[in-house]
Subunit: 342 residues, 2 copies
């Protein structure tokens, strides 16, 4: 039988442990998997685009376990009462190909995206960073804020969103947890004095959410929302001044901020920094950019963490997904309790 | 909520309707979808190979619905007590990206593979075909036999397998349903007088299950088992004498019998025959070959049929897979019933 963590149990699991502890736990698993990056089967995600959104499959394997995530991205969903992003995922045993674990991943993706951003910022932001600007107060925003507190101790967030209700929602969720929240009246206002700038908007268009003039030396930019062909957030000139770190270059060149740059635009693979093969930030003046699009290995790590953390608890139930006749060559036996030929 | 047909309910559904009726029903849906082939998003399946087997994702979309199947293929599984192939699949709403339906597909794949083979044989086998030779008595064999009776009225099957127990299992399952079964002592013996030859073996190697000398004019070959790089069943000379029909050429050239032929080896796309754009069999002497590998649209059709057939019945249950906060921008609200910062 395949183990299952459904939405109800995912909420209970997060409730039980708290968002920050889980982001920290997932971060550890992602670091572990990024450090053994070369052991993984890697392909760009498999996307089915329509004018209204995208549905994607994101598979990977370390040759012991296989995992994939189903995820959609529909920017117009919230206005119609739906989530922009929903997701679920599966782990399977490479040895016999059986699915072993299925889980909701709408919430888990929010946790793993924050964990990945925080992991990157640990090696790319200045050690004395204290203030984060957040552009975009959507579903991902609270998770980002808590991820940066868990991993870097960030206690002050300056947030801007074109939707004032979304900003209020962010404050309502985050202030009670002891993070100082400033509601900015513009992007310019939000980035004032920020050491880290996180852009996380959902519009599926080539926007300039963050203007070139707003990026000062020493800042770390955590670019989360530019993650789809035709969907970017940064003034392309920012990329010329920054050292750009990416997950899987063949995917990021299609989906990330660097889609606006030539094929040979220089990037650093983040896994090499995690594995100790490359330096992260090299000076207090350097501008660093994590051009995050989300990669299958992060989902694999998050699923592994969830599975391990919920093993043997009532956060897991079962889903009857694998037909198992007594004689493996006699699948037909499962159909023949009552046989009614035409 | 996402609707679910799990293994138990799949068995009940097949029990209730009978294998032949369901194969006929799925066949109708596949014909419908093959006739509108050009409306679909099509890519070769996304495969993760290891020395021991393969795990694949097979997505497609008609721009209204999206579907994918997870499926493995592990030839050494039966000897270890596991199914060679297990599968499950999902349908989703392209408009908002939400998964709407999930189902076990180990049994459903067996039904749809038989339905596809039977659909092809309806336009490719001689109208007076009466006898089928089956090479391979594994999980798929009974479904093939019943599919050919449902669609073509085939009542006589000559079977051969290197495993005598598998042949006995086939006879035990099929004879009570009124099909005449002859257990052959060799491939040569099995194909004697056969109008249709179905090859369906699981070994992951370039084998010659069917020798050139055994193929006589007028025969239709239903080549099911050659479906993976490095896994073929037919003497390549057979392909030179036959008219070769395929599902999706970019996938079949990687996985099918034609992988042993040059890139420009001439094939006919089966959908064109179903859509009435091309002839199927053109004479009683022609040798026709359906080089079947299994394509995503067939799974999409089978999932649609299953969903429609089980709608509003207790063959469907629900799986709690989509997180839905009251405010779609407030995913975080689902985590904050009890908040425990670190």
């Amino acid at each position: 039988m395949t183990q299952l963590v459904d939405v109800t149990n995912m909420c209970r699991w997060i409730d039980h442990h708290g968002v920050e502890k889980l982001i920290a736990g997932i971060l550890g698993y992602i670091e572990e998997d990024f450090a053994r990056w070369e052991k993984f089967d890697k392909i760009p995600r498999v996307a089915s685009h329509t004018p209204i959104g995208v549905i994607e499959l994101m598979p990977t394997s370390d040759s012991i376990e296989y995992g994939f995530k189903y995820v959609n991205g529909h920017p117009s969903n919230p206005a119609r009462g739906f989530q922009t992003v929903t997701a679920f995922g599966v782990l399977a045993d490479v040895d016999n190909g059986y699915p072993t674990f299925e889980a909701e991943m709408t919430l888990l993706t929010a946790l793993r995206t924050a964990a990945t951003s925080a992991m990157a910022a640990k090696v790319l932001a200045r050690k004395d960073a204290q203030v984060m600007a957040m552009i975009g107060a959507g579903s991902q925003s609270e998770f980002q804020a808590l991820g940066f507190r868990a991993a870097l101790g960030i206690e002050r967030v300056r947030i801007f969103d074109i939707d004032p209700n979304a900003m209020e929602k962010f404050r309502r969720n985050i202030e009670p947890l002891g993070i100082e929240v400033y509601l900015a009246d513009s992007v310019d206002d939000a980035v004032e004095g920020a050491d880290i700038i996180t852009t996380c908007t959902a519009d599926k268009a080539q926007n300039t959410i963050l203007d070139y003039s707003l990026v000062r030396p020493g800042v770390h930019i955590n670019g989360v929302g530019g993650d789809c062909p035709g969907k970017t957030e940064l003034d392309p000139r920012i990329l010329d001044d920054a050292t750009v770190f990416v997950e899987f270059p063949p995917q990021t060149r299609i989906e990330g901020e660097i889609q606006n740059k030539p094929e040979d635009f220089e990037v650093v693979e983040l896994w090499k920094v995690i594995a100790g093969q490359r330096e992260g930030r090299t000076s207090d003046e350097e501008i660093t950019l994590f051009d995050s699009v989300g990669f299958a290995i992060e989902d694999f790590s998050a699923l592994r963490y969830l599975r391990d953390s919920t093993a043997g608890t009532d956060f897991q139930t079962f889903i009857d997904l694998v037909a198992e006749p007594d004689d493996p060559k006699d699948l037909f036996s499962l159909t023949s309790r009552v046989l009614s030929p035409l």
